[in-house]
Symmetry: C2
Subunit: 363 residues, 2 copies
């Protein structure tokens, strides 16, 4: 009798960070695609675009003029998802009424920021000089520190800072100028809260840290390991949902960017640059993704610091080419996320790719 | 001092079905959109397309020729996500090893089906005569019964049947011919399992059914009620994530399609047709969505029947027009789903729309 073959037989894998499952159908990658195609790659953009509201010297929706910045630029989002100074939300009493059970609501205050990675309109993280990527890491760190201090000193209701980047039109990015965002909220967002719960539960059960143990395992197995340097690893996690999803994890416990040494900041920039070069080289396109940092809450208590472990998630949609993406739709939304290749297969593809030279530099 | 205003102040709402939160930013709908646009509407398609592998008499990828069907047609998916007769998966022992903790895996067997709603290539649920929509409901029911019997009589490892439809290219549909899918699995998918857990917990706590109580509340409040007939309601749930997400719920406890009377089947078809006409009329386009049925597992035990309550979720991506969709990306994936209008605002838009006549019939 045959053995179960993870590269051919359908199975589901458990995600310990979200306490959920993903269905893996490795034989399904062969099906033809007749559906929607994405716009391939980034068109040839100029270094400066007079119509871009993120380029230096140009005007934003607010009317403000961007400074002639030469490195990074942080400013408040003109259309923020959260605001400060809302009226108080009084929850209607009566804990036994149906309303109380089904209409649970909390006020959320905060602030949203845009972070331009570079003044040059036509760059992206993989194309930026390493020093400039270090500047981005530094800008994130400074924003984190500034908001911590505004919370402490001015009493602003800031609890968590979610730093992220939507790259490419396929991931809803509305401006190609290299930039990310940072949303600062008075509440800990759902996904982050769930991870903290999983981390705390794991510590209780095993007297060690979930991500620390996972790093140790992946360094031993190496099958899903994409990149490694002194401070970080990048793996396609065992439970990846997106075709080429990766998880970047610090080797030792760093609770947040403010815990990083200069060497660690540089190591983060290095591994980010290499990973994104590999991504671009995979389908020879400016690889779309949503990515973000998960770290400790602002002004974290000692307990919160002990629970948090710095990591970043990359969720890229492309499946088979620059134009064919994975849709997480019907079955995925109603039933369970489903993927068409194994994490190990995806990792191997990424490992085998050139990580130093971007494909456009070879032309 | 001002009162908290749900139509202007940011807040988060709790989803009792998934035990998670959604961030609502009602003031944000004003922001301009410069990003990706969807292809508007459905081009003028012919009733029969010789290149369509779902049209009657045409050849499928498997080589098989479709019969000259005149109502619905069900056949096994040529690229199924799950298969039957896999080798046994032996989990590597040692419950204390790291591998055991991080590499949890289960075999999943099953079968996938395609369900053509009509032989006519250019129809959709809202454009089909009511009787033909009743036929679709009947086809779903017959499939459910057939698979129950294959499990019981032939011992096939079928536990749950997920019936769904991906409509439109924006939701990953690769063929415009009106059709849905049904994936039959040996496991209960994640989302369904989570709902069952929430239902069971609610029953324990309140000695009543979660969805039954929710129907009662929405019928009293009426603010989020979009449609109602003798057997079903459609609401924009309090915790909706997608801009015009709706939840269709049976008024009394029906555990699955096999529990429906003829009247209930007809009532389901009627409300489905009206809802999808309203959706199409909203932006005068063939409205994309993913939708699906949640019901009891196949050959359910009495306990499973008592827990289940028939309902359907509609997840449509469009936000502001036929071409501008909501992207659930960076913050949503890393932090928390975020929406730009309240559930009540979305419900009002849907209520105000014509539900009998499709916009193309008025031209
Ligand atoms: O089976 P289809 O229609 O080709 O494929 C579509 O629906 C499936 C089920 O939701 C998804 O897994 C695919 O990503 C999507 O493109
Ligand atoms: O803020 P942007 O880039 O205009 O908007 C993008 O990112 C946001 C945060 O993930 C999402 O809520 C939007 O749907 C998306 O289009």
């Amino acid at each position: 009798t045959l053995d179960f073959d993870l590269t051919d037989n359908s199975h589901r894998r458990y995600n310990p960070l979200t306490d959920s499952w993903v269905l893996v159908s490795p034989h399904r990658a062969k099906r033809p695609w007749l559906g929607q195609k994405e716009t391939a790659s980034r068109p040839n953009e100029p270094e400066f675009d007079e119509k871009c509201y993120l380029c230096p010297g140009n005007q934003r929706a607010s009317g403000e003029i961007n400074p002639q910045y030469s490195s990074t630029l942080i400013f408040p989002n003109d259309f923020p998802a959260v605001k400060l100074n809302q009226p108080e939300l009084k929850n209607s009493g009566g804990s036994k009424s149906l309303k109380e059970r089904f209409m649970k609501v909390q006020s959320v205050e905060g602030n949203c920021y845009v972070i331009c990675f570079s003044p040059k309109h036509n760059l992206t993280l993989p194309l930026m000089p390493l020093g400039d990527v270090v500047n981005v890491v530094e800008a994130w760190t400074q924003l984190y520190l500034k908001l911590e201090s505004e919370a402490k000193v001015e009493g602003k209701p800031y609890k968590y800072l979610q730093i992220f980047e939507n790259k490419g039109t396929a991931m809803g990015c509305s401006n190609l100028h290299p930039h990310g965002q940072a949303w600062c909220l008075s509440t800990i967002p759902n996904e982050v809260e769930n991870e903290f719960k999983a981390f705390a539960k794991y510590s209780d059960q095993h007297s060690s840290c979930l991500l620390g143990d996972y790093v140790a395992l992946e360094l031993e197995e190496r099958e899903r390991l994409v990149l490694e340097n002194d401070s970080f690893i990048v793996v396609v996690p065992y439970w990846a949902v997106w075709p080429f999803e990766t998880l970047l994890i610090s080797k030792k416990q760093l609770h947040s960017l403010t815990d990083f040494s200069d060497k660690e900041k540089r190591d983060l920039a290095t591994i980010l640059k290499t990973l994104t070069i590999k991504y671009d080289n995979l389908f020879e396109t400016s690889f779309p993704y949503s990515m973000g940092l998960h770290q400790a809450p602002l002004n974290a208590t000692q307990e919160e610091k002990d629970t948090a472990w710095f990591h970043m998630h990359f969720y890229p949609p492309l499946l088979r080419s620059a134009t064919v993406r994975k849709f997480l739709v019907g079955f995925e939304l109603l039933g369970e996320p489903q993927r068409d290749l194994t994490a190990e297969q995806a990792a191997k593809r990424l490992v085998d790719l050139e990580g130093n030279t971007h494909y456009t530099e070879k032309l």
